[in-house]
Symmetry: C2
Subunit: 383 residues, 2 copies
């Protein structure tokens, strides 16, 4: 199982024979949305919360991962008695369009029997959200009580609120922005170039070669992983500690190998990632993030994206996040204010960087639980 | 010339038949230090300024680059009437030990007739400085009037002051630190892994294959280049501007290729770099930076490194530099204060990031010129 290809797993999914018209103008002939749900939908279908995952996440938000066996990726946020309380809410999480855990993506077979690979059409965050909307309707839900997500998940939250304002009661975009910055595009591009540089990438058609561009994708993951952490977190976790304390005493420096602990850690991040993730999906999804620019969809004016919105927003950022700095969340909150939306904005003080949304961050969990409870009262949800 | 191998160029150099004992315990059988000088040494041999270059710099600080034909890398700082005034000072710049522009490095032939490649011994910033010291003595200079450098050049400046305090009248470490941080080690490691992942690297023995690990080294350069800029600078220079403004109007998004201008820029940085730089040198020099920890050489106490120093220091940082943040320069200045050294510390306000030390930054140039003029008066240098 350790070396298993994601597509060998049977994922729960819904199939839409009418496909999906993409922003790029291509019609996907068929759409599959893989998903998981937790908790029970109430009779009024009014207690559903959609969780949107980040770049390398998936639908297994509330159970152990079927490939890695690791705990759920948002274990401290989703579950019985947790901030997103599955005793109270019906929680839905889908694998994003373009992903590799069961939803339509580049590792799928095309109508001609070959795999899409690099021919998979470019997709946008809005395409991902449209696919989720079909799944939500398929589940019999007209209006989501809440949409919650961090990083690229937060982009989806903003896109949901902008595209389907009447179908989202509450929205919680965490550690995100209304557009992808030049620096973030640049980091994504380095990752893509690392994949392209790997000869095992084979122009994206590696599925039948018995090889995957693991080295290139590993490098992409390594550079991305640095951006998820803060300098403080790296100093605290690793500093300049050596992998082998005797190394220098043994008479001399070593040129290569895992000399510093931070190097071993990063290499581990790279090598475990490539076992569970498809390189073409990585390319497709990073590109979708790069394209994200909510204001551009509305004549360059972000408030217009939210004009007259009935949705209640809680915008959350982390003080040490340099990938999606607080300033970008503040810009979202200001645009919502200018749209006369109901919005609260909180910057959580933490030294854990962007990754804080996935970690033990009690302030985040308190804010999230409190906001959802308040919204539940307004929505008339039975407690 | 465009595709020329660096070793095909004849560089001015000094050869030391007694070699160099390295920190790792290996004795280099022979040492070559390539260098350039500008201006004239005065009769007292008291007007020499050593310029130390950064990771990918070289000795051509005051003339067009012999491989690329580009202007000198510190054109606005070194030259007649410039802050480091070649009408007044005798300016020396060496290619660092481990480099690929004529000084002993991994692309050299070993005694057995093969090229060193990955067998080149690991070197330290102190080894680089020891090699420079031999060159300075060879030029008949006992005491340098000043040692000046940014980034890794600044590490050499600090190392010079710590190792040879009586031979450095003034020291200007710019945009640097007394140790390499976990985050910086992490970014270097990503670059190294990108090189290792390139099959053309061939375990470091690519010299006779007719191929170089250009793809891997290009990715390494791309990720490093992002760290040299600030998010503000990237936004100002590129923002989310498209390479081809008609792209989106032409009916659809594109998945790959140069879509955003920042991508083309980075790819250009990568592809031009690999024509002038040796991958094994990149590995060796990044590793030397990672090892740098001046306090560790002195029982973990940085002030001890400078105890009783007669050198005058001017420590300079840039407000938007996140690779070597101001806090790290401030720590150097504090340690110098605790060592009762003569030190001034200036943070230059700029949005240009780490690269500011190489760019049009009038405040930097004024500070540098002023400090050197003041020191020249104290040193009794004729004006």
């Amino acid at each position: 199982m350790d070396q298993g290809e994601p597509q060998e797993i049977r994922h729960q999914s819904a199939r839409f024979a009418d496909g999906l018209m993409l922003d790029c103008g291509v019609q996907l002939p068929e759409l599959v949305v893989a998903y998981r749900t937790y908790g029970a939908l109430n009779a009024a279908c009014s207690n559903a919360i959609l969780i949107c995952h980040a770049l390398t996440g998936d639908q297994y938000v509330g159970e152990n991962h079927p490939l890695t066996g690791k705990p759920p990726w948002w274990d401290q946020v989703v579950g019985p008695g947790r901030p997103v309380d599955t005793d109270r809410y019906f929680v839905i999480c889908t694998n994003v369009l373009g992903g590799c855990m069961g939803s339509t993506g580049p590792s799928d077979l095309r109508p001609d029997g070959r795999r899409w690979g690099m021919d998979f059409p470019p997709i946008t965050i809005r395409d991902m959200v449209r696919a989720q909307k079909k799944l939500v309707e398929f589940l019999g839900i007209d209006r989501l009580f809440a949409v919650v997500g961090g990083s690229m998940g937060g982009m989806q939250v903003l896109q949901w609120a902008a595209t389907y304002p009447d179908h989202v009661f509450a929205a919680v975009p965490i550690a995100t922005a209304a557009y992808h910055s030049a620096q973030n595009i640049a980091f994504n591009e380095v990752g893509r170039q690392a994949v392209f540089a790997d000869p095992d990438f084979n122009g994206g058609q590696y599925y039948d070669t018995g090889r995957t561009p693991a080295a290139g994708l590993g490098v992409a993951r390594m550079v991305a992983h640095i951006t998820y952490l803060s300098e403080e977190a790296l100093n605290r976790k690793f500093g300049r500690r050596l992998q082998d304390n005797d190394l220098l005493r043994q008479g001399g420096l070593a040129l290569f190998g895992d000399i510093f602990q931070v190097e071993s850690y990063l290499q581990h991040q790279g090598s475990t990632f490539v076992r569970r993730f498809d390189a073409n999906s990585y390319l497709t999804i990073t590109r979708a993030m790069d394209y994200f620019d909510l204001a551009a969809e509305h004549g360059g004016d972000l408030p217009t994206a939210f004009a007259g919105t009935p949705t209640r927003f809680c915008v959350i950022s982390f003080s040490s996040d340099w990938l999606f700095p607080t300033a970008e969340s503040r810009a979202v909150a200001r645009a919502l204010n200018r749209a006369a939306a109901n919005v609260s904005f909180v910057e959580v003080e933490t030294d854990k960087g962007h990754d804080a949304f996935l970690l033990d961050e009690p302030d985040l969990h308190r804010i999230l639980a409190g906001f959802l409870a308040g919204c539940a009262r307004h929505a008339g949800l039975a407690t």
